[in-house]
């Protein structure tokens, strides 16, 4: 009997125990769990689980590379500058500087309007393109950035990388499910986003603690409308 661990939230599925309250009898093998089974804690797909005890939790390494990186401000896109501005607004809010926070928010608002995406036509790359970028980042972006952060002994960078990678795994799970099942996965349920790390939760109410960054549930924001 083996155990399998969720790479996003650390939940462990124990084959010996099963999950009787969810109708999964003790002794149910990992392979026998339905293909569309998801982590009961965070909603990650089965593919995001790794055999417990195997070295899969260790951080992937890849030579750090700066290829394609834009280090100059002039080369940042409006969306990037927008994120930088809202980050600075948050920094001001945390320091109880409402005037500065409001100014950065206003600036971010401007960059948001100018980075409006091309309208989603019928041939819009949409979800496929999103998944493509996610796959590429998971294969190259994180391993390379992790190596850079480890080499520089940069705990802060590593923290942001661990969180964003876990959140990206969730995005991957959700987008993959959405492609197969469509709007059905959102029927009669809420969609919540953790305002600290970006974790997305689909369910009636957000978890008491965010599975990724461990912030309390009131920091989640419910996504309204948008149908």
């Amino acid at each position: 009997m083996g155990k399998y661990e969720c790479a996003v939230c650390g939940y462990i599925y124990d084959e010996a125990q099963g999950i009787p309250e969810a109708g999964i009898a003790p002794g149910t093998q990992w392979e026998d769990l339905p293909k569309d089974w998801v982590c009961p804690l965070c909603g990650a797909a089965k593919s995001e689980f790794v055999k417990h005890g195997e070295a899969a939790v260790s951080i992937q390494r890849m030579p750090p590379t700066v290829a394609g990186a834009h280090t100059d401000m002039e080369e940042m896109s409006s969306a990037q500058i927008g994120a930088l501005c809202t980050n600075l607004a948050r920094g001001c809010e945390k320091q109880y500087k409402p005037e500065e926070a409001a100014l950065f928010t206003e600036l971010a608002g401007y960059f948001k309007t100018v980075s409006t995406p091309a309208s989603a036509g019928a041939d819009s790359p949409g979800f496929d393109k999103l998944l493509g970028l996610i796959e590429k980042d998971l294969a190259e972006g994180w391993p390379s950035a992790n190596a850079a952060a480890i080499d520089a002994n940069d705990r802060g960078a590593l923290r942001a990388l661990v969180w964003s990678k876990k959140v990206t795994l969730i995005l991957k799970s959700l987008l993959t499910r959405y492609q197969k099942e469509g709007d059905a996965i959102l029927e009669n349920t809420g969609v919540y986003v953790c305002t600290i790390c970006g974790f997305i939760f689909i369910g009636d109410a957000p978890p008491a603690l965010c599975p990724v960054c461990k912030v309390q549930d009131w920091k989640f924001e419910k996504i309204e409308g948008g149908s």
């Binding site: 394609g68 280090t71 600036l107 995406p117 940069d154």
Partner: protein, 326 residues
């Protein structure tokens, strides 16, 4: 350590109001629940007293940010760029999930850029970023005035920081003056105690007088007032000249009018001696590189200084044998 002030997290505040009871300045007692920064003296009593942990002390000046390596910055920016792109793509897609993905990517982009050197809004990186926004050509509709306002606020904070540093400089010079006076005062008291035969008191006054000299010299040095010897000589000439030309003549006149003969004599001796000092300092400045040794003779009565032992003091008439050789 930088000066701090109190801030209240309204979400945590349980209105126990202990902060109002302990606040010595009334800064915590406001109708909008925001602690008045201008009134707060930074004592921290409210934060200590608050039972719900709603008050924190935050610094006026934040420490410099952790230095990031170019490689880390490059790798993070590459990821952040992808997140921003995903945010933009998701913004063009319909449905709640797309809206959530858009938001999620934005939050990740924020967090990643934060770790790439943009933690503090008042950092040099932020200032350089704001500056680049104003300097680069921007499309019409760009809210330049917003960026300029931010630059102005951050520059103003810098000025205030410099001002508070100037305040310390003033304090150092005040302390220097106070300690210098205390040194002479205790010396006078020591002389009196010696005369009265109070040996122990005299000893303590002397030791304390020396202690004040130590303090005074340190304050003066920390204030950055000790320059090169040439500059110090120039400063000495200026100081002595001011005293004999402007300060003492007035003092002499008033003492004369008021008929205070002792003061008149004390001022007049000092005035004449300072003129000599100014001249000697000027000479020393002109001959700063002279290697031949010069001797100075000090009159212990009036403070006159001569370059030879005189028959008697040219200012007060004290006999030359009393002069102290340097």
């Amino acid at each position: 350590m930088s000066k701090k002030y109190a801030v209240r997290n309204i979400r945590l505040c349980t209105k126990d109001c202990l902060c109002l009871y302990v606040c010595p300045s009334g800064a915590t007692d406001t109708e909008n629940s925001i602690i008045d920064v201008a009134t707060c003296i930074g004592c921290g009593d409210c934060a200590d007293a608050c039972p719900s942990g709603a008050i924190s002390m935050v610094p006026e000046v934040y420490p410099p940010q952790q230095v990031k390596t170019e490689t880390v910055i490059g790798a993070l920016k590459a990821l952040m760029q992808s997140k921003a792109e995903q945010e933009t793509i998701a913004a063009g897609l319909p449905g709640k999930l797309a809206a959530a993905v858009e938001k999620s990517n934005h939050i990740m982009a924020e967090d990643i850029i934060r770790e790439a050197g943009f933690m503090l809004p008042q950092s040099d990186n932020t200032k350089a970023f704001l500056q680049s926004l104003v300097e680069n050509k921007q499309p019409e509709g760009f809210p330049k005035e917003v960026v300029e306002k931010l630059i102005k606020i951050f520059n103003k904070n810098e000025e205030e920081k410099t001002m508070s540093e100037n305040k310390t400089l003033d304090n150092l010079m005040d302390a220097f003056a106070g300690e210098s006076q205390a040194n002479r005062k205790y010396l006078a008291y020591a002389k009196k105690a010696e005369k009265d035969g109070k040996v122990n008191a005299a000893k303590l006054f002397k030791a304390a007088s020396d202690a004040e000299t130590i303090h005074a010299l340190k304050h003066f040095e920390v204030a950055g007032k000790v320059a090169t010897t040439a500059d110090n000589l120039k400063d000495a000439v200026a100081g002595e000249t001011h005293e004999y030309k402007e300060m003492y003549p007035d003092f002499v006149k008033v003492a004369n009018e008021e008929g205070n003969k002792a003061a008149l004599m004390s001022f007049s001796y000092a005035m004449q001696a300072e003129e000599v000092h100014a001249r000697l300092y000027q000479e020393a400045l002109e001959n700063l590189d002279q290697t031949e040794e010069v001797f100075y003779y000090l009159c212990p009565v009036c403070g006159n200084i001569e370059k030879y032992r005189p028959e008697k003091c040219s200012i007060c008439g004290a006999p030359g044998k009393m002069f102290i050789k340097y």
